[in-house]
Subunit: 409 residues, 2 copies
Amino acid sequence: MGATPPLSPLAPASFPKLPKIGGVRFATVQAGVRYSGRDDVMLATLSPGTTVAGAFTRSSTRSSAVLDCQEKIGVVSDAGAAFLVNSGNANAFTGRHGTASVKAVTEAASETLKLPESRIFTSSTGVIGEPLPHDRITAKLADLSGALSADGIETAARAIMTTDTFPKGAGTTVTIDGQQIHIAGIAKGSGMIAPDMATMLVYIFTDAVVDQPVLQSMVSALNNSTFNCITVDGDTSTSDTLLVAATGASGIRVTEDSVGFMQGLREVMLDLAHQVVRDGEGATKFVEISVTGASSDTDARTHAMAIANSPLVKTAIAGEDPNWGRIVMAVGKSGAPADRDTLSIWFGHIPVARDGWVDPDYREEEGALYMKQQDLTIHVDLGLGGGTSVVWTCDLTHGYIDINADYRS
Amino acid sequence: MGATPPLSPLAPASFPKLPKIGGVRFATVQAGVRYSGRDDVMLATLSPGTTVAGAFTRSSTRSSAVLDCQEKIGVVSDAGAAFLVNSGNANAFTGRHGTASVKAVTEAASETLKLPESRIFTSSTGVIGEPLPHDRITAKLADLSGALSADGIETAARAIMTTDTFPKGAGTTVTIDGQQIHIAGIAKGSGMIAPDMATMLVYIFTDAVVDQPVLQSMVSALNNSTFNCITVDGDTSTSDTLLVAATGASGIRVTEDSVGFMQGLREVMLDLAHQVVRDGEGATKFVEISVTGASSDTDARTHAMAIANSPLVKTAIAGEDPNWGRIVMAVGKSGAPADRDTLSIWFGHIPVARDGWVDPDYREEEGALYMKQQDLTIHVDLGLGGGTSVVWTCDLTHGYIDINADYRS
C-alpha cells in the first residue's frame, strides 16, 4: 500500500472516553509482523466466567482464524479467555499453512496465559496469501502478558488498525434497577475491505452477567441491524469478525428481556459501524439510505443495498449532484418488486419525486444545496407495503481510486 | 454533464465497413431535443415483411418506450416497420407524461411513414425525469422521411450517442449453401449506465428471411451470452433495448437449425457488446473474466459477475496490480458455492494460485508485467464441477469518477 491516506474528513474529533470494563485487560506490542515503528499485536484478557458470542464473515473463502473462532464460540467453559489480534497479515488464503499458524499462536497463548486453547480467540488482518510469520507473535506473548492493564483500550484500538485513518471506540453505561452496566468496544475497518483485505474487526466488552446463548442471540440479532447494514464498496472480507465478551464483573444479570441492555449494546455496535463508514476509503459524505413502503423488510433491504452500492449513486453524491434519476435506476435494477408509478423519493425532508414523477414543488437548487451537507439522508418509499430498511454508506471519490489502485509495496 | 470525455484508449481505429442490408434505410436529423449542433434523432425504416425480435432491460422502473416496444414485439404484420430513436432525453420516470410522449411520437410517425402504429418502435436515451419535448421530434418526421438512404448506418450510429466516445458498428457476411446473408448492427452505451441514464441501445439488421418466433428465440438465447455478459459498473438502465430486424431481402430462409447464421449473429452481437465495454466510462483495460469448475453455469456466472463488479478488483486492474487476493475475496462474497482449498487462478496463461494457495512457481513480477497489457484475461477455476461462464468488463479509474461525479449541466 502507498502513503498513509489523510485523516477522513468524517472522523470524530477525538477518541471517546470509554468506561472501564471490570475483568478486561489490554496489552499491545511491536511484533514487526509487517509494519515497523508501531504496535501491531493486541491482547485482551477476560476474567474467568466470561461468556463470548460472535458474528463472522459469511465469505466462503474465510480465513483460518475465522474458522477457528467459529468453532470455539459456544464452547462451555468457566475459564478465562483471551482475544489476540495482529495487523499487517491476514493469514487468509494460505491453505494448510494458515491453519498451522492459528494452531501455533493459540497453543503458545494457551501456555503463556494458562488458559484452555478453546478460549483463545485470534484474528489477523492485513495482506492475504502470504504466510503469517507467527513466530514474531509468539515471541512477544510473554511481554504482552506482563504488560496487561485495564487502561489500554485506546492503544488496543490503534494496534489493530491497517488503513484506518483513525482509531474507533464507543461505549455506554446502562442503568438497570439503579445499578450500572458498562459496555465498551473497539473496531477497525475502512471499507468492507480496504487494500489487501484490511478487514472489519470488532471487539466489545461488558461487565454484565449474560449466559452465552442469550448473548449470542442478542449479538446475532443486533448484528443484522448494525454491522450488516453498512457498506462502503459492497465487498466482503475473508476475515470480518465481531466478538462480544461479557465478564460478569458487575454482578448484574441480563436476560432476553433486558431491553435497556439490548439498547445499550445496539448503540455501541451502531456507533462503531458508523465509524467504519466514516472512515470509508476516500469518503467525504456519510449517507443514510432509508427505504419504506416495500413489500417486505427483505425487499426494502434489497433496494437499500442496491442504492448504497450503486457506483452511479455514490459518484453523484461525491459530486454533490441531487441526481435522483440514479436512485430510480438503482431501485429498478435491485431485483426486488417496485412500481415506477408509486415510487417517491426525499433528500432529507425535501420531497424530490412523488408517485413516479418529479414532485411539482421540487426545485433543483434546493436539492443541490442539501447535497452540500456532510451527512445526508436519502429516503425512498416504494408505495407497496410495510417493509422498511435502513443502511449506511459513503460516497465514491477519487480518494477511493487513489487508495485501491495503488500498487502494493 | 461536463466536457466530452476524451476518446477511449480502447476504441477501434475506425468505424468498420459494414455490409448494406437490403430493405433498410436510414436518416438522421438535428431536432434539438437537448443537444445542439449534432444529429440527435435517427430513423431506420424496414421493408414490408420484416420480422422484429427484441430484448429489453429487466428493470422494474423501465421507461415508457421500452414498455411500448415490448408490447409490439411479436405482433404479426406484413407491413413495413421503423425504429425511431432520440438521444438527449430518456423519457424515463416521467409518469403518464412519458406514456403520452411515446403515443404522440408513434402516432405521428405512423402517419408520416404510412405504417401501422404497432410497427413503430421507439427508444429514448439521455436525461431522465424530464418531460420529452416530443414536438421537436415529430416536427422533423417529414424531413427524416425525405432523407432516407441505404448508406446512412455510420451517421445513424453517431446520432444515437450520448456520452459514448466513439460510434459503434459491427457486421458480417454468412454464406449458406453458397448464398450470402448479411448482418450489420449499431450500438450506443458507455457503461450499463452512463451519466443521466445513458442507456445501451442496439439495432441489428439482416437480410435473411426469418420467422418472428425463430428470430426471437435466437435473439433471447444469444443475448444471454453477449449483452447480458458485459458489465461496466453493475448498474442497469431503465431503457436498455436490443432490436433485431430481418428484412428477408436476400430471399434466403433461416431456421432454428442454421448454425452458420446463429454464429454470424452472435459474432455481431458480441462485437457490439465488447465495444460498449471498450467505451466504458474511464476504461483503460478490457477484461475477460472466465470461470470454470463451478457447480453449475449459474454459479459460474454469479462468481464471474462478482469479480467483474467488485470495485476492489476493478481498481486493482486500473492500478496494474496483480492482486489475486481481491479475486479470492470476490469469489468468497459472491454467494455461490466455493471451496477455498480447491480454488485456482490464472492471469492469462500464468498460474497464480492453485488449490487454495499461491502457486509455488508464481512470481509477482510476472503477474505485474501481465497486468500492463490493455486486454486481460482472468481465469478462475472453482474445482467443484463443470459449470462455466465468461463475462467482460473494464477497470475502475479516476476517469469514471470524473465523468459521473460531474454536476449535470
